[in-house]
């Protein structure tokens, strides 16, 4: 080898050694297309169809039940504003009976998220329904033809992040609030360009960690590494022999090591339940609070780069407006608690996380005829008012800002996926996807 060949070959080897760790499944050498804004993102799909009037507009009963003088903010952790001082029914129950709901839950955060982050006051939903709305938040696509009992038609944020940012399966989590409405299928599409091999991990927490989950899973043998290695070795031999194609996959894929960690986590949760160690918001009297507790457990244990969770208790608004107000107040309480928990109990994520909160759809302007215990009318979601939503972003590199107003719509729910891609530095990659709403863009670019 002459001197010139030597330098040429050593140069190539050095370049290869440096570049190899960054070659991604996409074939790109480097993942990052812009500077990341934060290391972690938590997205809350809030919370089952929320009217602008009782949430961001803070009108309480004034704009729903033809009551005057009863406006005010019942979401003190998300928004800044004075609470209503009349007809308080959304809180806890200090004395029972006539005083039911009369004591608002104290605010958890020292400053509201509006005071420390960015609020998009008036955004457009893509659908007035839950499942398409959830799909919009998860895929950034205009999937209005999305069916029930089927995986999303278009790639999800989990797949984008795993494929383009090189995230491992354990880096991406979806905490679902139940098995209904096809939510357990939201952790991945079956899209040929992405699909289950890039899907995120998921627990429908109330089932996995509830009584039935405990009965079915709680008596498992805690296999040691020495037990598991031969099992996986033989299983992998059998699987290679069977030769399943990627398009035949029906579940997301974790490595053997990742599967072991998930199983250990499930066992640990059952033990921590026995010891009363599961972190919970101070008020935990509905399903959303339980879901958010297990989201906190997943965050504490795995420190995933991206986690999303959905809440749905406010959907009781179809038949009970008072219950809706209570659920809305509790959803705010739970989200405030989670943000506080991340900052104070997960040092790895504290100061490095962005939380995004957005409803999947709004609710109608006019009520239906169903009256509740207070003779207040209930609301469905099918009209133009149900296409009105907001979002809140808070955390690292998020400016304190208000964008848009009731008469000035800025942004749409399909912006959330590119926003998350932007936060993780893979904006161009994800925006290049043909499945994304072409008019969507990072909310940071709409500020």
């Amino acid at each position: 080898m002459n001197r010139r060949d030597f330098f040429k070959k050593t140069g190539l080897v050095t370049a290869g050694t440096v570049a190899a760790p960054y070659i991604l499944p996409t074939g790109r050498m480097f993942a990052r297309t812009n500077v990341p804004k934060a290391e972690y993102v938590v997205m809350v799909m809030f919370a089952g169809g929320v009217r602008q009037q009782e949430s961001v507009l803070q009108r309480y009963l004034d704009d729903s039940q033809e009551v005057t003088g009863a406006a005010g903010n019942i979401m003190p952790n998300l928004f800044t504003g004075i609470a209503p001082d009349r007809k308080i029914v959304y809180g806890t129950d200090p004395g029972g009976g006539a005083t039911r709901g009369s004591e608002p839950i104290p605010r958890i955060l020292s400053q509201s998220m509006e005071d420390t982050g960015t609020v998009f006051k008036e955004m457009s939903a893509i659908s007035a329904g839950h499942y398409v709305g959830l799909n919009t938040l998860i895929t950034g696509s205009l999937g209005t033809a999305q069916g029930l009992k089927t995986r999303p038609k278009y790639p999800t944020i989990f797949e984008y992040l795993r494929k383009h940012a090189g995230f491992a399966a354990l880096d991406t989590w979806f905490i679902a609030n139940g098995l209904g409405n096809s939510t357990p299928l939201l952790n991945s599409s079956k899209n040929a360009d992405y699909g289950l091999q890039y899907g995120g991990n998921m627990f429908a927490a109330p089932y996995t960690f509830g009584g039935v989950g405990r009965e079915i899973l709680g008596n498992g043998k805690p296999y040691s590494r020495a037990d598991l290695d031969p099992m996986y070795y033989m299983k992998n031999f059998l699987d290679q022999s069977f030769g399943l194609n990627p398009d035949q996959l029906e579940t997301i894929k974790n490595t053997d090591e990742e599967k072991t960690r998930i199983k250990e986590f499930i066992r640990a949760v059952f033990q921590r339940q026995d010891q009363g160690l599961i972190p919970r918001p101070p008020v935990t009297d509905n399903g959303d609070a339980v879901t958010i507790s297990y989201a906190a457990e997943v965050l504490r244990h795995f420190k995933p780069k991206f986690l999303t969770l959905n809440m749905s208790a406010v959907d009781g608004c179809h038949s009970n407006f008072t219950g809706y107000l209570r659920s809305l107040h509790r959803a705010d309480h739970s989200v405030g608690w989670l943000w506080n928990y991340i900052q104070n109990n997960i040092p790895e994520m504290s100061g490095k996380t962005i939380m995004i909160v957005a409803p999947e759809c709004g609710r109608n302007l006019k009520p239906n005829p169903i009256l509740d215990e207070n003779d207040w009318y209930a609301f469905d979601h099918s009209d133009a008012n149900a296409m009105r939503v907001w979002s809140v972003m808070v955390g690292k590199n998020v400016p304190k800002m208000t964008v848009g107003s009731e008469n000035n719509k800025v942004g749409k729910l399909t912006d959330i996926v590119p926003t998350i891609a932007d936060i993780f530095g893979v904006y161009d990659e994800v925006k290049a996807s043909p499945y994304l709403d072409p008019q969507s863009k990072s909310l940071f670019l709409r500020m």
Binding site: A176, T208, G213, I216, N219, F237, T251, N254
Partner: protein, 164 residues
């Protein structure tokens, strides 16, 4: 002329009677011995969660699963994103019960080749190829810590067991 017509009719009827009925032949068909087994390349349909659980349960306990237990197990499996994790945990719970009908480790060690063949027939409804048989015989023989439970777990959670 009239009587001759009668005679013709009687004769014709007699001929028909004698030639129209023949004695039935007593035929017995035989069946050649043929071993019937599945071909893994033809397993293209994935078992539903309910099918997978009920087949697995019946396989291991030799009794059918109750509808309530099936429903609960289905829901719990559906509640976990990685179905393999869920299946492995369900299975690990089964192996922690005392009523499983599985061979003892000593029986496996006494005749590994026969055990491997039985495993393939029990789980995959087919015979192993020579390569598959050799792999398992060598692996079990060279790893004294490998138990029936480990082998059964590997088969139960394998991709092929989830297809038919």
């Amino acid at each position: 002329m009239h009587s001759s017509g009668k005679i013709t009719t009687v004769l014709f009827s007699a001929i028909l009677l004698l030639t129209g009925c023949t004695k039935e032949k007593n035929v017995t068909y035989g069946v050649n011995d043929k071993v019937v087994y599945e071909d893994k390349s033809l397993k293209t349909k994935r078992k539903s969660d309910a099918e997978y659980i009920s087949i697995l349960y019946t396989n291991l306990y030799q009794v059918p699963i109750s509808p309530t237990q099936l429903y609960k197990t289905q829901n719990v499996i559906y509640s976990i994103g990685d179905r393999n994790v869920a299946n492995e945990m369900v299975l690990s719970n089964y192996f922690n019960t005392s009523t499983l009908k599985i061979p003892k480790d000593s029986e496996m060690r006494a005749d590994v080749a026969a055990f491997v063949e039985k495993c393939y027939k029990r789980f995959f409804l087919r015979y192993p190829s020579e390569g598959e048989k050799t792999f398992f015989i060598n692996y079990i023989n060279s790893n004294p810590n490998v138990s029936v439970e480990m082998v059964y777990t590997a088969f139960s959670v394998s991709d092929e067991y989830q297809y038919y």
